[in-house]
Each structure stands twice: as structure tokens, then as C-alpha cells.
């Protein structure tokens, strides 16, 4: 069970300095990580015989930017009370979270392929008691956002400079709880909270527009007094820049509306709502997807073994 920060240790840690220029290798490293995230997620969903590939593909670049650059969060600091927190509110993208965790040392790459299997810690949706580094259990849309808000509030009360990031799906925004939290975060001026919307324009059954219209989305959050930044959710420098801008926002929570492509990187999945899943991938589909995502023959053999 989580321990509070001792009162004599509630001094703020140093705040983040804005990067003047991105290190030259960083963007390439993150792009490679994002490719791995997509490949690993496809492989784990293939082995599981079910899972949600579309929304895992769309958020891979965002996850790679967070874990590869933005989060003050490392495998040996999972218990550090001043760590940054990341909450996957769209819990059905768990395969992508496990993959990015595996890439950055929070879990084992091979074990993470046991997604959705009996006795595996890698459940269909993340569970914090199985893996502390996922920060909270998600899978019921809207709740992760509120939990992240509570974390941001708790960190402020304890005078920590740590930041909290929550990744939401676009369909998730139809949950009323999201707007309760949006109002609450602005009211409490939680500038240590950054929400990111994986805006791939599709949800389980159809396009957002057909199910329940979200637009004008940026205007809605601006009206709730959030600092809103719209970005291309597959452009790594743009994501990194927006995360930096968000971290220097004062007095308001910040929102990144990341325009993404559902199924990004797998041609037969891109912009086809049925790949929201949960779907069963055939071996041929998995091979095709991995090849399209840049995996070598050997890597494909290893992933699918």
C-alpha cells in the first residue's frame, strides 16, 4: 500500500527545465521504441487470440515519447514518491502499455507476450496489484482520468513537483465522469496534470461522429478552462514539444489533443473501426502487420514463436 511522503521530506524537488533543443538521437530512439511498441503489441494480441489492436497502434508514438523522454519515472524508482505518474485511462490499450514498459525496463519483453493468458500478470487491462508501475487499475472508461486527477491533487497537497499524465481515448470522452473530472481539475488549478487524448476519430462500433459527436472538442476543453494544445500524435518532435509546453503551464491543467490514425502503421487496419477489437489475429495477419511495422524476418519469427 502506498506510503505518504514524510512531512520532513515534502520539499519540492527541482522543477523541469525546458529543453532548448532535442538531442539529435532522441527522436530516432523514440521512433524505434514506438515501432517496437507496435510490433510487440501485435505479437501479444496474436498470441492472446484477442485484444484491441487499433487503439494500441494509434497511441504508440505518444507512449514512446512519454516513457522515452518526458516522464521522471524509471524501473528503479517505481516507489519514489516524487516520481511522475502515467495512467492509461484507455485501459484497453494495455498491449501498448506493456510493450512500452518492456522497452524501457519496467517488465520483461518475453513475459509481456503472455497477454490475457491464465495466471499472467499481463491482464487484458492493466492491474496495479499485478504491476505497480502501471500506477492504477483501468479498463472502465473515465475512471483513470479521475484517478490521475486524485494523484495530481495528492502530490500538490504533499508539495511534490511530480507531474501526472493520463492518456484517454476519444470514445472515452462520452463518459460523464470525464467532464466531472475536467471541471474539477480546472477548479483546483491542477497544473501538474496533463491529459492526452488519442484522437483517432473511431470507437468500438463506428466513427465518433456516427456514435456520439465530440466536436468541437478543443473548444469544449478550453471552455472548461484547460490549456489545450492540438498536435499530430504521430509527429515525435511535435509531441515532445507539446509535453514541454504543458509542463510549463501554470494555474491550469493541460490537454494535448493528439490527432492520430487508428491502426497506424498496419495498412489493413488503418481507419477501419472493426480493428478497435477485441479481435483474433491470424498468423498471416500478424506476419503482415509485423512486416509493415518494419520487423525483420528473424524478429517476426521470434515474436510469433
Amino acid at each position: 500500500m502506498a506510503q505518504a511522503i514524510p512531512f520532513d521530506r515534502r520539499a519540492p524537488v527541482q522543477s523541469k527545465q525546458p529543453l532548448k533543443a532535442l538531442p539529435p538521437n532522441l527522436v530516432n530512439d523514440i521512433a524505434a521504441s514506438a515501432a517496437f511498441v507496435r510490433q510487440h503489441a501485435i505479437a501479444s494480441i496474436y498470441h492472446a487470440g484477442s485484444g484491441h489492436p487499433g487503439g494500441a497502434m494509434s497511441c504508440a508514438d505518444i507512449l514512446a515519447c512519454l516513457f522515452g523522454a518526458e516522464l521522471n519515472f524509471w524501473p528503479d524508482a517505481v516507489d519514489d514518491p516524487h516520481r511522475d505518474r502515467f495512467v492509461l485511462s484507455k485501459g484497453h490499450a494495455a498491449p501498448a502499455l506493456y510493450a512500452v514498459g518492456a522497452q524501457y525496463g519496467f517488465c520483461n519483453k518475453r513475459e509481456a507476450l503472455s497477454l490475457r493468458k491464465l495466471n499472467s500478470k499481463f491482464q487484458g487491462h492493466p492491474h496495479v496489484l499485478d504491476m505497480p508501475w502501471v500506477e492504477t487499475s483501468t479498463g472502465s472508461l473515465g475512471q483513470g482520468f479521475s484517478v490521475a486527477l486524485g494523484m495530481a491533487m495528492g502530490l500538490k497537497i504533499q508539495k511534490s513537483q511530480a507531474r501526472v499524465y493520463a492518456l484517454l481515448g476519444d470514445g472515452e470522452l462520452q463518459e460523464g465522469e470525464v467532464w466531472e473530472a475536467a471541471m474539477c481539475a480546472a477548479h483546483h488549478q491542477l497544473d501538474n496534470l496533463c491529459a492526452i487524448i488519442d484522437y483517432n476519430k473511431m470507437q468500438s462500433d463506428d466513427r465518433n461522429d456516427a456514435i456520439m459527436r465530440l466536436e468541437p472538442l478543443a473548444a469544449k476543453f478550453r471552455a472548461f478552462d484547460w490549456a489545450v494544445i492540438e498536435i499530430d500524435g504521430h509527429d515525435i518532435p511535435e509531441i515532445l514539444g507539446a509535453l514541454r509546453r504543458a509542463s510549463s503551464t501554470h494555474g491550469r491543467p493541460s490537454l494535448l489533443i493528439a490527432h492520430t490514425v487508428k491502426g497506424k502503421g498496419v495498412p489493413y487496419m488503418e481507419n477501419v473501426p472493426t480493428w478497435h477489437g477485441s479481435v483474433k489475429l491470424t498468423q498471416q495477419q500478424a506476419k503482415g502487420a509485423l512486416a509493415a511495422l518494419g520487423a525483420t524476418r528473424e524478429q517476426i519469427m521470434e515474436f510469433l514463436a
Partner: protein, 323 residues
């Protein structure tokens, strides 16, 4: 000159006031406690805490789902969040309590005022008769319903000392004193308020006082009834129930709640698996409440001492028939 109206029951002997005062007085000892409110602090008793510890009082507005899940986030940073609202609005956030508190293993507390018919005039929409059943079905959730202001004070401390998610009922209306200042409270332990050998009346919350009254009525006709205060509905005190089954062989359960899934359900499940014997259920019989004063409603819905006594006679008759 205008004066602000006094809120009903503030300053009286209600369980919510006892809770609010206890929480405020314990706050300096439990420094990581934060209180979450959804704009009804005056009704839940935490107006005392708001006054004594404003910096640890968190306003969530009228938005219980966000409040309940946010408690999970606060607990994740090591604070001890106390979610406070009316019992009926806790029902609105059961799923948040399930996923973000219980499933995530958080040390968070939910304290629900205005449970049962005890709500009175606000009527059926406001009277939660399902809350103990709903929260009891959540794995890892401890469910408590103290009987009087003395026990409420002790239970508040016990709840703060306990590690894990707790759902605790308080109460709106003035509560009768059942216990003396020497009363002891422990989570998971029932206790015999009054001994007897013919039948065991197991009660919680406001029904404990009525159960004691019922035992008096039964004594007048030569029936020796045992009264058990089962303030912890989950985990239920199985050992005590087994002992009572051996000693008395007949049960009545009494609760200000639907007879389905609450205290009656818990007792029946426990005894069915250990020492089956006749059980009669006093509570609201799978119906919604209505407007009226709490005592009028208790009479109409069959929750008063005479109803408990009548149920005890039935249980004893069934026991004799089975022999």
C-alpha cells in the same frame, strides 16, 4: 435582520454528527487523512472537519463518480481519503469504488450518511436500501454500520487505523444510545449486547436499539432473547454466529435495509454453510421507501421492536417444529 436557517439535525445526537466530530478530533493524529465532499458537508457531518482542517478538506462539487475514483488517486500518493456523501449517491459510484478503490487495493474510506428509512421525509428516492448489499459484494470491501454515537466514535478511529477500503454507514436522524462509555469496538467482531438462550436477534445500525427493545417485549412473555450487535457486516463474525446457533438455535436479523443481500443475507450465507437453523428477516421487504418520519416509516415497513419480537416468535416456533 435575517438569520441563516439551522440545518436539520446539526448538533443533535445523530450518527453523522458523531462521525463528523470524531473525524475532526482524530485529524491531528491521522495527519494523512483528507476529506472529500460533494457539496453536502452540512449533511454528512464533515462540516466539523471543514472548519477544523480546511486545508485537508477537498471539494468535488456534485459529482460523485469523479470523487470516488479520485480517492483512488489520492490514496495512491499515500494519503487516506475519506469519501463522504449520502448512501444513495454512493450507489451512483459503486463501480468507481469497485475498480479504483477495492480492485486497486487502496486504503480509502467511504462514509455514507442518510442510509435506509432513517432518512425520513426526503422519501423513497433518497433512502438507500441497497447500499450494504452492493458494497458487500465487492471483494476486499469491509462494510460497517455502527449502532449509536458512542460506537460511531470508536468505529471512526478503527476505520482510520484499518488498512484497506471500508464502506461505513452513519445515519441522519437522532440515534438512541445503546452503549456506555466503556463500549469496545473492533472491525470484524460482533458482540452480545444482551444474553439469552431462546433466540438470537442479530442487528446493525439503528435496528440494534429496536432489537434491545424487542428483547424486553419478549422477556415480558418469558422468552429469553439474545441480542447481537453485528456492526461489521463484512467480514461477518462467523465464530460468534456459530456460537449463537449452538446456544439458541434460532435467528432474527434486523436491518434498515432491503432484506436481500445485507445483514440478513450475510448471516444466512454464513449459517447455511456452518450451522443451518431457522432465520427470520426483519428489514424492508424488497421495496422502495417513502416519505414520512423515520418512526412512522419503521412502523409501516415492519422495522420496529414489535415486528422484531413477532419475527422472534416465528423463528422459535420453527425451531420447535424442526425438533
Amino acid at each position: 435582520m435575517s438569520a441563516a436557517p439551522a440545518l436539520i439535525a446539526q448538533g443533535n445526537d445523530s450518527l453523522r454528527e458523531a462521525f463528523g466530530k470524531a473525524l475532526s478530533s482524530l485529524a491531528d493524529e491521522f495527519k494523512d487523512v483528507v476529506v472529500l465532499d460533494a457539496d453536502i458537508a452540512g449533511g454528512t457531518g464533515v462540516h466539523h472537519f471543514r472548519k477544523s482542517h480546511p486545508d485537508r478538506f477537498l471539494q468535488f462539487g456534485i459529482a460523485e463518480q469523479n470523487m470516488m475514483a479520485a480517492a483512488g488517486g489520492l490514496a495512491a500518493t499515500g494519503l487516506i481519503p475519506i469519501v463522504t456523501t449520502f448512501a444513495v449517491f454512493c450507489l451512483r459510484a459503486v463501480e468507481q469504488a469497485r475498480l479504483s478503490l477495492a480492485y486497486a487495493g487502496r486504503n480509502a474510506k467511504i462514509v455514507a450518511s442518510h442510509p435506509g428509512l432513517d432518512v425520513g421525509p426526503d422519501g423513497g428516492s433518497a433512502q438507500a436500501l441497497e447500499d450494504m448489499a452492493a458494497f458487500r459484494a465487492i471483494p476486499g470491501m469491509t462494510v460497517i454500520s455502527p449502532a449509536d454515537p458512542i460506537e460511531m466514535k470508536l468505529a471512526t478511529r478503527a476505520m482510520l487505523e484499518f488498512k484497506g477500503p471500508v464502506y461505513m454507514r452513519t445515519g441522519r436522524s437522532p440515534a438512541k444510545r445503546v452503549f456506555g462509555d466503556d463500549h469496545k469496538f473492533e472491525i470484524g467482531k460482533g458482540h452480545i449486547v444482551r444474553d439469552g438462550k431462546d433466540v438470537t436477534i442479530v442487528a446493525c445500525g439503528v435496528e440494534v436499539a429496536r432489537a434491545v427493545e424487542a428483547a424486553d417485549l419478549l422477556a415480558a412473555e418469558g422468552i429469553d432473547a439474545r441480542v447481537v450487535n453485528m456492526a461489521t457486516i463484512k467480514p461477518i463474525d462467523k465464530q460468534l454466529l456459530i456460537r449463537c446457533a449452538k446456544h439458541t438455535g434460532a435467528f432474527v436479523t434486523a436491518e434498515d435495509h432491503n432484506i436481500l443481500g445485507g445483514l440478513g443475507g450475510a448471516v444466512a450465507e454464513s449459517l447455511a454453510a456452518t450451522m443451518p437453523c431457522p432465520i427470520e428477516f426483519v428489514g424492508v421487504k424488497d421495496a422502495f421507501g417513502a416519505s414520512g418520519e423515520p418512526e412512522e416509516l419503521a412502523e409501516q415497513f415492519g422495522l420496529t421492536a414489535p415486528h422484531i419480537a413477532e419475527a422472534a416468535r416465528r423463528a422459535i416456533a420453527r425451531k420447535k417444529k424442526a425438533k
